[in-house]
Assembly symmetry: C2
Homo-oligomer: 385 residues x 2
């Protein structure tokens, strides 16, 4: 019997992946760049157990049994086994896999990225394979390849039709820009209406703008973003991040039928960020939205308390909500908004509870193997604890 | 003393105008196409009175006195006078101008287009000028040039830096496609947040996608649209109309900061239209959104009753609302939704009153001179009645 447990991080793209040139191999039409979040507050966790005694492969996700016959899972498994040494003694053992996310699944919070990065990291550990595994994680979920590394990560789209050069590279570790923070404003934890997989497929088929974005706009923005990260130039970083988020959602809208991920509250958050930046006469906060209504804000630590005071003013928490439950993640001092700011801030104050909750976190490292037995999600018999 | 009263129509673009190449001359970066609505239900009305006894130029809009010193108004006035015969006896008389819209101003319902088409038509009548006046109306508000003609109208962007070839041409009169109907779903009659003038200026300055739309996408869509109108091919007409509306709002979103005109209710209408078309296995209804949240639907008369039954089902009117006030414009039979349709229609039913009201109308002719004295908006003394 052999057992491995791994935790893997979520990543939040600042240059978005949208559109595949190969559906089967999951090859993108453009490069993308993301920050990998600390696993302290948000992560996927996967235990894989292999045993000669198991009669069948089994898979649980968030406590529910899943069909093992999932093509993405099997593509990852097949590729890891292909790279294992032929002498690996457990190649024919059956597996029990148990995976969990500690954040809402399929709410546009990149749960599949963390999940597949976790699965592939655990499989790589189990079958003792070496070398880059990001191109394997990519076969599970495109953006999963970026969660294989910590810090700032670029997914290079590659040129080869077989996809071997479509992989993630680390641009800088999290420690390169230690002041960087991330605030996630959870607008809705309902399952989203359009899956990103089918949304991007329809975009590739119908958007007349998407090929131009992929070919002409993104390559320039990727170079600018790499420079902004290397130089720790927050002003430029913030501008490019917001521009690319808007450009990505413009592609979604240009799809037929359109796929609309942002809602009125999302757009109200955009307004708050622009107004705040205008008051500060520079880009102090940047937003980015994935395929869902939640806002991910990148900002420096020095700005966190004041900006949160604005968010709590414009989007008051439901009365009676407990601070530690409403603002999850790292501890943060909650200040009332400064009078001058609220006076200048000519903004509609929203109804209580427009935001479900807030996560405050920062960048972190890639997947980690957990060796303490109590961390395993499976019993000795390969059943969820 | 000389007095002229004119009514002029609203037009609803099916290929949108967005972006000027010359701010002063109001020259667009791309061609646009619109349908001119009947003046029966929505119009601007303007009375202009000239008198040697008037001491000063005066101007009222919707009952409120305005500053006559408005550059757009004066550009139009100057250009009309330039084209008048030098022998015209009233060239030096002062003017009283009174203008009214019978629909919400600045709510994204193209009030300035009808208003300037009306003003310029009345001035042309007053000073007895001949020839095309669309390029003069254009100086008041770009899309006003299209309201100078009835039916289907193309605004040709032109090439000249002086703008003399940037004018409207009629593609077909309203009678060419007599079955065509228009339903306007008024989502909000609040004044919009971003004016279209400043929105399109910011788009030109910041959107990386807009030049591509103007240069590569719109010219193809214009040709397709002209063919669809000539052939009365509703399937194609509807598809191009919806694609162009989405593409235009994608440009707005790609602007920095983004200008967002559609809201959650607008997007819910888009969903209803696509679902309805899917159930019918063809494009029976098409939507288009201007710089505001209201939906303009183009559809054939044969589809009106059934589609309205769906709209009333998904967006129930506020209880107690009077049908003739809720559905303005042409008379229409209101049917309950067919059971089969409501069963297949797996749609969230919205709260009562999500739509403020509905206008049901059709295409019509260009500006009309009214000669009955009771139609004048001004007294003999040049004061609003």
């Amino acid at each position: 019997m052999k057992v491995v447990t791994v935790v893997a991080p979520v990543n939040i793209a600042v240059i978005k992946y949208w559109g595949k040139r190969d559906e089967e191999l999951i090859l993108p039409i453009n490069d993308s760049i993301s920050g990998t979040l600390s696993t302290d507050h948000m992560c996927a966790k996967t235990t894989i157990q292999a045993s000669p005694l198991f009669q069948e492969n089994r898979f649980w996700l968030n406590g529910k049994p899943q069909d093992f016959d999932n093509p993405r899972l099997n593509n990852c498994l097949k590729e890891v086994k292909r790279r294992a040494k032929p002498s690996c003694p457990i190649l024919n053992w059956k597996l029990s896999i148990c995976s969990e996310n500690n954040f809402p699944t399929a709410a546009g919070l990149a749960s599949s990225a963390a999940g597949y990065a976790c699965l592939v990291s655990a499989l790589a550990q189990l079958y003792e394979i070496d070398g880059d595994i990001s191109s394997i994680a990519r076969r599970g979920s495109g953006s999963a390849c970026r969660s294989v590394y910590g810090g700032w990560v670029q997914w290079v789209k590659g040129e080869s039709p077989t996809g071997e050069d479509s992989l993630a590279v680390q641009l800088a570790p999290a420690s390169h820009w230690p002041e960087m923070r991330v605030i996630i404003l959870v607008v809705s934890n309902e399952t989203k209406k359009y899956s990103s997989t089918s949304g991007m497929k329809t975009s590739v088929e119908t958007s007349q703008l998407l090929p131009y974005r992929a070919k002409e706009i993104v390559p320039k923005q990727v170079e600018r973003m790499k420079r902004a990260i290397a130089d720790k130039d927050f002003e430029a970083f913030a501008r490019i991040t917001m521009e690319d988020s808007n450009s990505f959602h413009a592609m979604c809208l240009d799809t037929f039928p359109p796929c609309v991920y942002m809602n009125d509250i999302s757009h109200a958050i955009v307004d708050v960020v622009h107004t705040y930046n205008q008051l500060k006469s520079s880009n102090k906060v940047s937003y980015t939205f994935d395929a869902g209504p939640n806002a991910c804000l990148y900002l420096l630590e020095s700005e966190v308390e004041e900006f949160l005071s604005v968010i709590n003013y414009v989007f008051p928490p439901r009365s009676g909500s407990i601070q530690d439950e409403y603002i999850k993640g790292s501890k943060v001092k909650q200040l009332p908004i400064q009078e001058e700011l609220s006076r200048k801030f000519e903004f509609k104050v929203h109804k209580e509870g427009a935001l479900k909750y807030i996560i405050y976190t920062k960048l972190g490292d890639g997947p980690k193997v957990l060796t303490d037995e109590k961390d395993h999600l499976l019993t000795q018999e390969g059943i969820p604890k």
